[in-house]
Symmetry: C2
Subunit: 462 residues, 2 copies
């Protein structure tokens, strides 16, 4: 339990202005993007890695729980202090862009730096950082790495883990470790950085990240493929990619989402007969290259039953095409007062079967389940729409449907989460996705880093 002595110690390390245990701060740091709320016992803002090290060492010795936090924009409760303890907030001081190393094409950043700020800074010097989670305007890079964030560009460019070159981190005992170098190849020692990525703040506190950058693609165009139904669209996804198309993004909207968009946003311009839509960008080093790729997509879509293919002529038309996808999530609100949304992921070839099965489960319980998301990488945002959130039976059925969807997806060789992580929200479903042997291994790994279980305990079902 937290007492004044502990608070005084934290003050002695980071200064009075960086430790809070008043009600206002407890409330300000009790939330994330879930609806769950848990108040911490205190909020501490470390100024640098040394502060982090001293705070962790003390907490480890006194068995005080620490929950590292970036922007608190996570969807699964990863940054919630569900067991009390202190919030270690990296956003106030440890939010700097330390270096853009043009020669080695890497950026060196602190964990609290906001994704979009980094993207803008590197693009100004002609470089490119592809991972762009929907939260890019406010989520921090430390959070992105801790959750292995995805985004719209994963189909072509991969996800956060593909851009982590090296990390600095503080272990629960206060030890500072370096994992990786600015080198492309490094096979000395265990791949500690590999295991820290997506570990949801349960193994160490990341204090610095070296992220890979690539040259900014010179040309980009937006396309939209129209299909009579989502099944045909889903077939076109993996068939066009296997045929050699390499779009930056291939996002999809199903019939329910399209209907909702037309109702909620009458200004949206979508073909009358669209029952499934694929939309995305194509980029390249020359206009000829971009056009050739669009041709491949168009042909491949056509072979797989598309009834229309639109290419944006300019930035304004591109925005219009993207409008539907960007507003898919708010549009679904027409179907209910409570959205149970999950971000399952399947091998791309299983997308048609996955959607059929998800709709069938929804039907069984009487729910509309509009789906949209990152078809190009097999990641579906599933939305079980509860009409009346104050109806306990309906809410219970909603959660049953979600559980059934998880089981179905895992049986299809899919995963519980493509982007959002496990945190608290999906912890009850870990035994659907993993055997006891695998969970035991996770627990052993956790213990190897954090023997006293002070770092974000009980997250990920551990």
């Amino acid at each position: 339990m937290m007492n004044q002595e502990h608070i005084d110690f934290f003050i002695s390390i980071v200064g009075k202005e960086n430790v809070y245990s008043d009600k206002a701060h407890k409330i300000a740091y009790c939330y994330d993007a879930t609806k769950e709320r848990f108040e911490p016992d205190a909020v501490v803002f470390p100024r640098d890695e040394q502060d982090v090290s001293k705070v962790l060492k003390y907490c480890n010795e006194h068995k005080i729980v620490i929950v590292p936090r970036g922007a608190g924009s996570g969807f699964t409760g990863g940054a919630l202090p569900s067991n009390g303890g202190i919030i270690l907030s990296l956003e106030r001081h440890m939010n700097k862009l330390l270096e853009i190393d043009m020669e080695n094409m890497v950026g060196v950043v602190q964990p609290g730096l906001v994704n979009m700020q980094f993207q803008k800074a590197v693009e100004e010097v002609g470089l490119f950082y592809p991972p762009d989670p929907a939260s890019e305007e406010y989520s921090t890079l430390g959070g992105n790495v801790s959750e292995n964030a995805g985004g719209m560009r994963a189909a072509k460019y991969g996800i956060t883990k593909d851009y982590v070159v090296a990390l600095r981190a503080v272990l629960p005992n206060g030890d500072i470790i370096v994992a990786g170098k600015k080198t492309i190849k490094d096979v000395a020692g265990y791949n500690t950085a590999g295991i820290l990525i997506a570990s949801e703040g349960t193994l160490a506190v990341i204090t610095q990240m070296t992220l890979k950058l690539i040259p900014k693609p010179k040309f980009k165009k937006t396309y939209m493929g129209i299909f009579p139904d989502v099944n045909k669209a889903m077939n076109a996804v993996f068939k066009s990619l296997a045929a050699g198309a390499n779009p930056v993004a291939m996002e999809f909207l199903d019939a329910l989402v399209i209907k909702a968009l037309k109702e909620k946003f009458p200004q949206v311009e979508l073909p009358q007969d669209a029952g499934g839509i694929l939309v995305g960008d194509v980029d390249g080093s020359s206009l000829a290259d971009v056009n050739a790729q669009l041709e491949t997509l168009k042909e491949s879509f056509s072979k797989n039953g598309s009834i229309g293919f639109i290419i944006a002529k300019d930035e304004e038309e591109s925005k219009k095409l993207w409008f539907a996808r960007r507003n898919a999530s708010p549009a679904t609100a027409i179907y209910g007062t409570k959205k149970l949304n999950e971000d399952i992921s399947v091998p791309r070839s299983k997308l048609p079967e996955a959607l059929d099965g998800i709709y069938a489960i929804g039907k069984k319980y009487g729910f509309n389940v509009p789906c949209f998301g990152h078809a190009g990488d097999g990641n579906i945002h599933v939305n079980v729409m509860v009409k009346d959130k104050n109806n306990p039976k309906e809410m219970e059925d909603g959660h049953k449907a979600i559980k059934e969807i998880f089981q179905f997806v895992v049986d299809l060789e899919g995963t519980l989460s493509g982007e959002h992580g496990i945190g608290l929200s999906k912890a009850p479903f870990m035994n659907i996705a993993f055997t006891q042997a695998e969970i035991n291994l996770f627990k052993n790994i956790k213990k190897a880093f954090d023997p006293n279980n002070i770092l974000n305990p009980h997250k990920m079902g551990l």
Copy 2:
């Protein structure tokens, strides 16, 4: 210690024809590509994952050491039974290509499959597996993953770890685990696959691998840039890459290697005044794209002091340009009877400084140190040439020089190994590259997987 009872147990599991403890087999499995020799107590050839599981469970209970082995082509002793025990050889039975999944663009393979066989099979259906270590003709994919093998195409396409989508593995206690799925995104649970890659057979025995494939590039051309000295060539490397060039490979030869090639292979066609050479391939989806890239390279090389730029007109000319690089290693033999070769890696921008420093250390001890390798990714093959290997003083000086080179490279933010791993050979240098805190963490990770220390013990300095 191994006794007949243990041997009988192994026979009861895998069959008499798959267990050997005779002298001939002990000798046949006592070596790798180092000069070290250690005889195992027995050699066991599991037929499938169940065999692996049963053998590991038994060995764990009886504290019998197991050394997993692919082709035994490693350069650092990773597959040597330096503490006795059994060799678990995956090459005889567990060497199958299980599936090429065109729709999801992955290959599913067993660990004993030879890299080149896999490359050929996927290229036949229009796909491409980029990691191509120099040992590709005989090294196994299981070994490649366990060492995180690099190769000639890393500058553009990355290394083995960038192609591991999912693994199946057996833990020392016999538990079978699945790490990852055929999905592009998967953030459920710890990234166990990430930590198994490059773990040199010390954490688990990999029994199946799902490897990412990409569309085979349609066009390829070979280039050679000629420089008056290696320093100018090294400057051109990171400057041309930062300028947006994206060659598949950018290999280098220094003045000593060029001299040796001319002496050892008089048929080699190299410009008279070449003091440093960069050679590699450029590929792309169109000829126009390939030519544009070559133009960028040529311009950028020229700006950085090149005195010639050759583009191969056809396959035959391409082979001629590659001849020098492919024969760099044997050519260096003119400088001595014993080669102490290491594969250090530095951030690309440090290549000029790294080579200057390496030559200076060689000079201090009176050695020629010809260098060549993968400049495009910062990976240098350093060869300290000992003139008379029977001269103990000279050999001792050689090892001193190597140690000094390691320290120098680490000070330059480089690493002990870009491709070969640590194994036995580089274990004594771990404390140059890692702090005690980092080594302690490695030991804790090892214990989390292998509490009885039966899997490839004492490798990687653990």
